[in-house]
C-alpha cells in the first residue's frame, strides 16, 4: 500500500499532467482530474469533486491576468452571466450531495463525451437572432483589439445565453469542473460574441462559478487537505508551464489527443457507474 508520501507525489504528477494538457489544449484540466482520482487513485467521487473545484479555481485565477492584459475579456458580460452560473453552481452542489457516486459518474461520462465531440467539431445554432435591446441597455456591446484597430461587436440572444449558463453552472457544481467548453459555446455560438472575447471572458467566470460551489463542498466535508494540496499545486504548476510553452505546440494535434483521452475516460466513467464500481 501507498503511504502519504507516495500518494502525494503520484497525485501531484497526475494533476501536473492534467493541468498541462488542459492549458495546452485550451479545454481546462478540470475534466480529467475527477476521472484520474476516481479511476486511478480509487478516491471517493465526492472527495474528487472537491479537489477538482480547488484546482479549477487555482488555474483560472492564475491565468486571469494574462487574458486581461490582451484586452479581450468583457467584465460586464461576465458579471451579468455570473448571476446564472453561481445560482446554477449552488443548485448543482446541493443536488450532488444527494446523488449516488454511480449516478454522478454516468452524468460525468456523458458530459465528457459532449466535451470530446465539441473539441473536435463546431456545433451549429440558428443564426437569425435580432440585436438585443437589453444588451444595449446593459452596455454589453464593446470592442476588442485587432491588427486593424479596435473591432466592435454586439451581443445577441441574451436569454438563450443566460439559460445555457445556468446549465453550465449546475454541471460545474455537480461535477467539479469549470464547464469552460459550455460557457464558450453559450457566448460564442448562442450570443454571437467573438471567439477570443468568449474564451477570455469564460476564463474569468470559471473561478467565480467554482468558488460558488466550493463553499458548499467545504461545509459538507468534501474538501480534503491531503488530496486537495497535491491536486491544487500540481494542476497550477501544469497550467503555468502550459501557458508558457503554448505557442510551441501544435494546438490542433493536441486537441485531438486530448479529446481521445477524454473519450476513453468517459467510457470508463460510464462503465464504472453502470456496474456500481465506484461505491
Amino acid at each position: 500500500m501507498l503511504d502519504y508520501f507516495g500518494f502525494t507525489l503520484l497525485l501531484f504528477a497526475g494533476a501536473l499532467a492534467a493541468g498541462l494538457l488542459g492549458a495546452l489544449s485550451g479545454l481546462g484540466g478540470g475534466v480529467v482530474i475527477v476521472p484520474l482520482l476516481t479511476l486511478v487513485f480509487h478516491v471517493d467521487i465526492h472527495y474528487a469533486i472537491g479537489a477538482s473545484l480547488i484546482a479549477v479555481i487555482a488555474t483560472s485565477s492564475g491565468a486571469a491576468s494574462a487574458f486581461v492584459k490582451e484586452g479581450y475579456s468583457n467584465i460586464r458580460i461576465a458579471m451579468f452571466l455570473e448571476m446564472a452560473t453561481t445560482i446554477g453552481a449552488i443548485a448543482g452542489a446541493f443536488v450532488a450531495v444527494y446523488m449516488s457516486p454511480s449516478t454522478i459518474a454516468i452524468i460525468f461520462g456523458c458530459v465528457l463525451v459532449y466535451s470530446a465531440i465539441t473539441a473536435r467539431s463546431e456545433p451549429k445554432f440558428p443564426d437569425n437572432f435580432k440585436k438585443s435591446l437589453f444588451a444595449e441597455r446593459l452596455k454589453m456591446n464593446s470592442h476588442y483589439p485587432s491588427i486593424s484597430g479596435p473591432q466592435s461587436y454586439s451581443v445577441y440572444n441574451i436569454f438563450g445565453g443566460f439559460s445555457l449558463m445556468t446549465v453550465a453552472g449546475m454541471l460545474s457544481g455537480l461535477l467539479g469542473i469549470g464547464s469552460g467548453v459550455i460557457k464558450v459555446v453559450a457566448m460564442d455560438k448562442v450570443m454571437k460574441i467573438p471567439f477570443k472575447v468568449s474564451t477570455a471572458t469564460s476564463n474569468f467566470m470559471i473561478g467565480v462559478t467554482a468558488a460558488a460551489s466550493a463553499g458548499i463542498y467545504l461545509h459538507r466535508g468534501y474538501i480534503d487537505p491531503a488530496i486537495s494540496m497535491s491536486v491544487m499545486l500540481g494542476a497550477l504548476a501544469g497550467a503555468v508551464i502550459g501557458a508558457r510553452y503554448m505557442v510551441r505546440f501544435r494546438v490542433k494535434m493536441l486537441r485531438n489527443i486530448f479529446s481521445i483521452i477524454i473519450f476513453v475516460l468517459a467510457i470508463e466513467m460510464i462503465y464504472n457507474g453502470i456496474t456500481h464500481k465506484l461505491g
Binding site: 502525494t8 485565477s61 491576468s65 455570473e82 441597455r137 467545504l218 466535508g221 474538501i223
Partner: protein, 128 residues
C-alpha cells in the same frame, strides 16, 4: 472621445484586479505548500484511505473553525486555510468589481455584482 477614455480606465482597473488575483494565488499556494511540508513531515509514512467517503472532521468545515485550527499549527489546518484563501480570491475579485462599478456610477452593474456577491457569501458562510 470620452467614451474611449472611459474604456481604457476600465481595462486599467481590470489589470490591477487581475494582478492582485495572481498574487493571491501565489500566497495561497505558499500557505498550502507550507502546510503540505508540515503534514508530510509528521504523517508522511502513514497510509491514506479514501475509498469510502466519511467527510472531513467538523474543524475543517467552517471558516471560523479552520482559522482557529491554523493557530494550533496543524499541517492539515494550514492546508485548509490556504484552500480557504484560494476560494476567497474570486470572491475578492467580485468585491473589487462592485467598487469599480460604483466609482463609474453604473447603478445597474452595482446591483448585478452585489447579487453575485450575495450568492457567493451565502455559499461560503450562510449554511449550518
Amino acid at each position: 472621445m470620452s467614451e474611449e477614455k472611459h474604456k481604457f480606465g476600465d481595462t486599467d482597473m481590470e489589470l490591477f484586479i487581475s494582478r492582485l488575483l495572481r498574487y493571491g494565488v501565489i500566497i495561497a499556494s505558499a500557505i498550502v505548500l507550507t502546510g503540505c511540508i508540515i503534514f508530510l513531515a509528521r504523517h508522511g509514512t502513514s497510509q491514506p484511505d479514501y475509498g469510502k467517503f466519511v467527510g472531513e472532521p467538523s474543524e475543517f468545515r467552517s471558516v471560523v473553525d479552520i482559522i482557529s485550527s491554523v493557530m494550533k499549527m496543524s499541517g492539515k489546518g494550514l492546508i485548509e486555510f490556504g484552500l480557504l484563501v484560494l476560494i476567497a480570491i474570486p470572491i475578492l475579485r467580485v468585491v473589487l468589481s462592485v467598487i469599480s462599478f460604483a466609482v463609474e456610477k453604473d447603478r445597474n452593474y452595482v446591483i448585478i455584482t452585489l447579487i453575485v456577491l450575495a450568492l457567493l457569501l451565502y455559499s461560503l458562510l450562510g449554511q449550518q
